[in-house]
Symmetry: C2
Subunit: 113 residues, 2 copies
DNA sequence: AGCGCTTATAGACCTATGTCAATATAGACA
DNA sequence: TGTCTATATTGACATAGGTCTATAAGCGCT
């Protein structure tokens, strides 16, 4: 089952308990967010005007080896937070806003009136 | 620095890149959410009418040892997602809605108009 | 084909983490 | 004080995960 589908049919945490299956899927995505380097990568891609970022630009933003950055990009892509497209020698990554939006909704807490 | 403060002064991912310090703090909280058992615990507490749940009720909801549940509760408490209060022999856990709300805001993606 | 640049994969290493059994701590009540 | 229940802590173990070096794979260019 696609991870985005699991997110879509998981209720907000504050509404009802997650099933074990829902929790397993959602946890995979949060685990991907649970690393400082991946968070920074994601924020770089998400905030970039135009929407896409070349891998080389991301690599330049960190003092980490190129394979390490590639590894983190793969993790973010595997959980559906990013997509990638190759054009010539370069690979460009884009945010998948739906996934981020579903996560945000999941954490939404009812207004304390 | 308190984790909640870091969350409060971290911009939404889609607005601007996180600093290394912000990312480190935020990652700690997402890492806590990156485990299926902790997600289920959190959803049990967050969705509970009345707001508080006794540890014994949480332990009963899983096929895990009592120390394991206690460990997960500590992780959630350490990152500011839960608080606890002892009354007589029992310990009750409550959601910290501010922390969850800050996380949700962090992941908010601008409406695609 | 061969070279150079960009990105991905494989494998090794070390640390972090989820789980458990055993034990300690805290409180209620004889 | 002693005992029972509820919860937390400790220490051990196995697995997961972040990082690196070395190497492979894709693509453009001559």
């Amino acid at each position: 089952m696609e991870l985005l589908e699991i997110l879509e049919c998981s209720p907000p945490l504050a509404r009802e308990p997650l099933s074990a299956e829902q929790a397993a899927g959602v946890a995979r995505v949060f685990k991907a967010l649970g690393d400082p380097v991946r968070l920074r990568i994601l924020s770089i891609v998400a905030s970039r005007a135009g929407g896409e970022v070349c891998v080389c630009d991301i690599t330049d933003a960190f003092e980490l080896s190129q394979p390490t950055i590639s590894h983190h990009l793969k993790v973010l892509k595997d959980v559906g937070l990013l997509t990638s497209e190759r054009r010539a020698s370069w690979v460009y990554y884009r945010l998948v806003p739906e996934t981020l939006g579903e996560l945000s909704a999941l954490l939404t807490v009812p207004a304390t009136v």
